[in-house]
Amino acid sequence: MKEVPLSTCERTSLVSSIHAGLRYDHRKFMEVRDITLNFGKDFGSCSATLGETRVLAQVTCEVVEPRPSRPNEGKLSIAVHLSPMAAPHLEPGRTNDIVDELQQILDRNIKESRCLDLESLCIQAEESVWQLRLDVTVLNHAGNLGDACNLASVAALRHFHRPDVTVEADGRVTVHTLEERQPIPTFMRKVPVCLTYAFFMEGEHCITVMDPTEQEERVMCGRLVVGLNPHGEITSLLFPGRMMMEKETLLSCIRKAFTKAKSVAETVQQAVEDDLTQRKTVSVKPRGYEVKNLRSDTDYNRWLIDQRVDKRKLMIEENVMPMEEEMQDPFEANVQQPEDSEDSDVNPPATSSKTPLGPSSHKKKKKESVMANGSEEEGDEEEEEVKSKLTAEDLL
């Protein structure tokens, strides 16, 4: 099926609303959608969601012969699958620009950055090594596939355990089942993070928006995909689109990306460790996929709506009692919450009403965005006051 054409109305209204400082989903320009990571019962299967974008990554392993040029290194192959399930206009089995781009991003971020210790995958030099195969399937395309695919793949690779092997003196290799011996985790030194910025030109001025949705991706002038890790290394840089940009804008984006990357990497590490420790205590049999933890889009959207209404309530209370201490409270409360809601990655959103998703990173994001947009926010608040007065008069 062909892609639905973009009407002039959609294009102009989205651009003008971005110029007016408003995104369709009411996010701040530098705000990222919520990240959740869910792990299957199997080792190395992870589904990541970024807002409504949903990606499933699965790692499998087999014993193969090593490359003659690198006799003591394991292999890693990455395959990206896009089907009409992700978006109806994508055709199955055929490579298109999106698949190529995703493949390139993942190859550079994960394979070429050498974040995975491939030498530990060697069983017998020149004889046999482990080959890890990473299959990334996009389940729903709602913008920013690069980030989502990267998240899912990294989490899956960190989560993956391969079966233990013993090599006997005469060169016989025994692969032990997972029940016989404790499986061995993959060794990943660094956590590669991928971040996407979309640019909208307004004359000479350039507006930068983080984590674009599908609609924004169709309208934007250009885009910057940075692959980096919290250790200060840039692993990939992709800058498609026909636009010119000043060096400073690009550099400031990358600088911001480094601070952001830290929190994202922590989220991933935390989520993987949580799941692995839980696995040890409950001793989950590694088979199949557990559906219980998956977050439904409906629940997520309802949660978003409720959040917005609650925020509004907070603001009303502030207006009623305009004390300075009260004004600071909500942000402090937000920062304090992560400790008690750390386990909420595991809980479905319906059960825990307060902060059901990806909590720690989410809260940190808020704090950052508050710091970054501090000056802008003051201006906004003035406008808001004027607006509220106007609406009140209208109602009378």
Partner: protein, 305 residues
Amino acid sequence: MVFALGCDALLTAPRPRLLAVLPPPASAWATCYTRLLVLNVTTFDLLASTLTTRCYPPHRGPPEEDRVTQGGGVEAVRVVLPGDTVMHYNTETSTERIFLGPGLRWEDGMVRAAKPGLLKKTQRQLYFVDTHQKRYIPQRREYVIGIVTKKKGDAHRVDIGCGEDATISYLSFENASKKTRRYLNLGDLLYGQLMVANKDMEPELVCIDIYDQACGMGVLPPGGVLFNVSLHVAREIINPHSPFLLTMSQKVKYTLVVGMNGRVWVNTTHQKDTVAIMNCILMLEHMSPEEADGKALRVLEALML
């Protein structure tokens, strides 16, 4: 007149009139047998409330007790898959009078399901399959919003969200003649009615009614926001019984155009309000109409900050 409810007429109409459901003209029924009525989606939606309760004169509106019980009396029979036999029905031998709604087909004396979903039945023997779907299947006489994609001789190609593009002749606009022809730009939005829609021909749009009046149809003005919703949400919005639009209008003044193909166009004086209304309508995707209606004002307030 009934069909104009999809457009501005719905918002300008005074409240009591909104509750009146007019029985559609007989010609609007897709197929009409003596005791068996097969309804298409549009007629079904307009008829459904009538059939579940009682027929009443159009100018008076439903009596008070009907408004309370509307939508009641619907019984979910079972889950059906395409091809499942629902019942045997022969127009000559069966005496019972039944209505078939969308998702059901009558062939060779058998009623079969054509869509997967929940088979429902009302007290007045109206059967239909309740399904949630996003892909639009064109139906004659339905109002849709299209995007102009191509100029082709004396016609334009318009994307209406179904498998095939629709065409619209440059003459099928109000006051259009060969000399005063209407120029459409690529990417323009059109609100029109489907004249031809069947599985063997490409759909054809018009922007006039039988009296050559535009009646709210035509090219949508610049500005505003276009977004997509599921088909059942689009029908829910223009349901004359649904108070959702009126609830929102207590807060903001807006113009809304709903196409049966799931495209909705909203415009207000401020961009901020437009986006708020959009998000408020999108809320219907995730909750029941009653719940959304209860939350609408609070959400709007929060979004318009």
